[in-house]
């Protein structure tokens, strides 16, 4: 690999060439999965898709310091790249969108975009925005109570940052210096409502001060800056110094979802310019300039990614459909025989007035 004389930025951050190429590959893979799902949606195989396009740089970079199967993640619906960096496979994501019986997220019970995976320590996501932020805090609290070496990370949009539960979560985490990282992916819109109608003062990071925690704003298209912020937050959490808030300024390259048309509310000129803000070519250029990425490597990565997505789709499509015999199951942790719940020890019977 051709190298320049000066130390590349990533080396200064302690990342090897392999690491950054791995990050780049993760971004390519997330994008390829995402694009494939739009195709499937247009082909009628998927009813709905909500995209992470434009968020991949921030997502891969902030998830990179997280330790799979030790740390925990409470994602949001754009977290394709985060979830995949943290352990989910392309096949898992596509299977979830196809709502197959053995989909790891929900067995076909939830809409596309509702990630989760018990084997990966990824908490099942619901739709009401912001609820997951408290789950991450609760996990951090539990780890702190038990004395476990665990960091929890959660992601959410800047519109969601205004929900009361997010405030309650950050404040509680600040009070007890819980090991949790709040990643706000600020793409400037909550569906159609722009930042200045959502976030008073315009900065989510500025809220950190009100919770006694660092609030860092980073360029979400600057992958290494995102990594540096997350790495520092992860170390801080492990040192017992408490939570961090990272606001990554990203772009939403697509409409809000397949049900939305952003041309209704977004300036055509703005929509036009979006492509230029794509984090993937930005990171590629940086890696090329530093000599880490060459045409040859790029070609290889793209080929690998393409094959992986093709394989994943094929395998996912072949998986079984859910069947209605099980639709009423797993409402409660165990069936309730005769209306009673089994409890481990000797019950007393009847009333005792």
């Amino acid at each position: 690999m051709a190298r320049t004389d000066t130390t590349p930025r990533h080396a200064e951050l302690g990342l090897t060439d392999e690491d950054v190429l791995g990050m780049y590959r993760a971004m390519l893979l997330a994008r390829a999965v995402d694009e494939r799902m739009w195709l499937m949606q247009r082909a009628g195989k998927i009813a709905f898709i909500i995209s992470g396009q434009g968020h991949e740089g921030a997502q891969v970079a902030t998830a990179w310091p997280m330790r799979p199967k030790q740390d925990w993640m409470a994602p949001f619906y754009r977290s394709i790249a985060s979830a995949m960096t943290f352990g989910m496979t392309a096949e898992d994501i596509i299977t979830a969108h196809l709502a197959k019986a053995d989909d790891v997220s929900s067995g076909g019970r939830q809409m596309p975009g509702h990630y989760g995976g018990a084997p990966y320590n990824i908490v099942s996501l619901s739709s009401p925005v912001g609820t997951q932020v408290l789950h991450a805090v609760g996990i951090a609290m539990a780890a702190w109570v038990k004395g476990d070496d665990v960091v929890a990370m959660t992601q959410f949009g800047e519109g969601t940052a205004n929900q009361g539960e997010v405030h309650e979560a950050m404040n509680f985490a600040g009070v007890h210096r819980l090991p949790v990282i709040f990643v706000c992916e600020n793409n400037g819109y909550a569906i159609s409502v722009p930042l200045d109608r959502q976030v008073a003062g315009g900065s989510v990071a500025a809220r950190g001060a009100g919770y006694g925690m660092p609030g860092v704003e980073v360029d979400g298209g600057d992958v290494l800056a995102c990594y540096a912020a997350a790495k520092e937050a992860h170390e801080r959490a492990r040192r017992g110094e408490g939570p961090s808030l990272i606001e990554a300024k990203v772009v939403r390259l697509t409409s809000h979802s397949s049900d939305d048309d952003q041309r209704r509310y977004r300036d055509p000129a703005e929509v036009e310019q979006l492509k230029e803000l794509d984090p993937i070519p930005r990171f590629a250029n940086e890696l090329r300039a530093g000599g880490t990425l060459t045409d040859e490597v790029e070609e290889r990565l793209r080929a690998e990614v393409k094959a992986e997505v093709n394989d994943a789709s094929k395998r996912a499509e072949a998986r079984p459909e859910p069947n209605i015999e099980e639709a009423h199951e797993r409402v409660y942790a165990e069936p309730i025989p005769g209306g009673g719940t089994p409890v481990p020890l000797e019950p007393i019977e009847g009333g005792t007035h």
Binding site: S106, G116, S124, M141, R330, V331, Y332, G340, T341, V343
Partner: protein, 328 residues
Amino acid sequence: MAELNILEAIRTAMDEEMERDDRVMILGEDVGKKGGVFGATDGLWAKYGDKRVLDTPLTEGMIAGAAMGAAVYGLRPIAEMQFADFVYPGFNQIVSEISRIHYRSNGTFSAPMVIRMPYGGGVHGALYHSQSNEAYFTSTVGLKVVAPGTPADAKGLLKASIRDPDPVMFFEHKKTYRLFKAEVPDGDTVVPIGKASVPREGKDLSIFCYGFMRTCALEAAETLAREDGVEAEVVDLRTLRPLDLDTILASVEKTGKALVVHEANRFGGFGAEIAATIAEKGFEHLDGPVTRLAGPEVPGVPYHHTLEDWFMIGPARIVAAARELAAY
């Protein structure tokens, strides 16, 4: 056997379970040094420390949501809502998250946790310290709902709830906290969730109740026997979800008449479910209309003592309703 009141029984249940299982923790407002506004956690902070008996900020959403996160992680949290009236900031977490995570994740996650809530009127607490809001939770699939009426049931059901693999809403009628003492089995005795009890048998009509209404119904039944020769059977539901249909229908089959009593307002109250089920499943046994006796259609218990008395149901009103039904 110790003689305990309901508050002591609840404290004992938590103490024993925390002793037995170090995954059990308590979180809520003022549960630590102060020991809770009713004293339910008194002494536990000193015994189990700052982390396992955790004073939270004044934020019910956070209490419910963080408890769920902890449950998902593997703990067995007991969350205290200071009053049932103040659960609503946590309603989103309870209804959207806690009740559904098991189903939505196809059984791969669950939220084994208890939410304890003092509820009920008759304590001069007015609109916001008197609510009986169980119907919001009994209609929510994925939750279990428990409402004990005696010290033994309070202890045994709370222990069962803490051990239960599902989320349990645990309603403690605050008027009963120190109302009476009764014998409570020592140690590891649990009362199964989902089983009603029949503290008084009778052949003429069935009174279905829970919580404080159990005490009132038993008193009413004595009056009815003494003054009217009417033998009322009293069924204490104890668990509201899942409902013990077998016991309910067996009682209706025996007596042919059902009186459902609760403190919350009538329209859309939990009594509607009990009554509708009896009317449907017990239709052939009914010798009179399933009758509901419930709180008036006002948005809460008013404060002034005469207004509060007007609102509350006591033995006299149960006697009156039962007389009318018995005479049908």
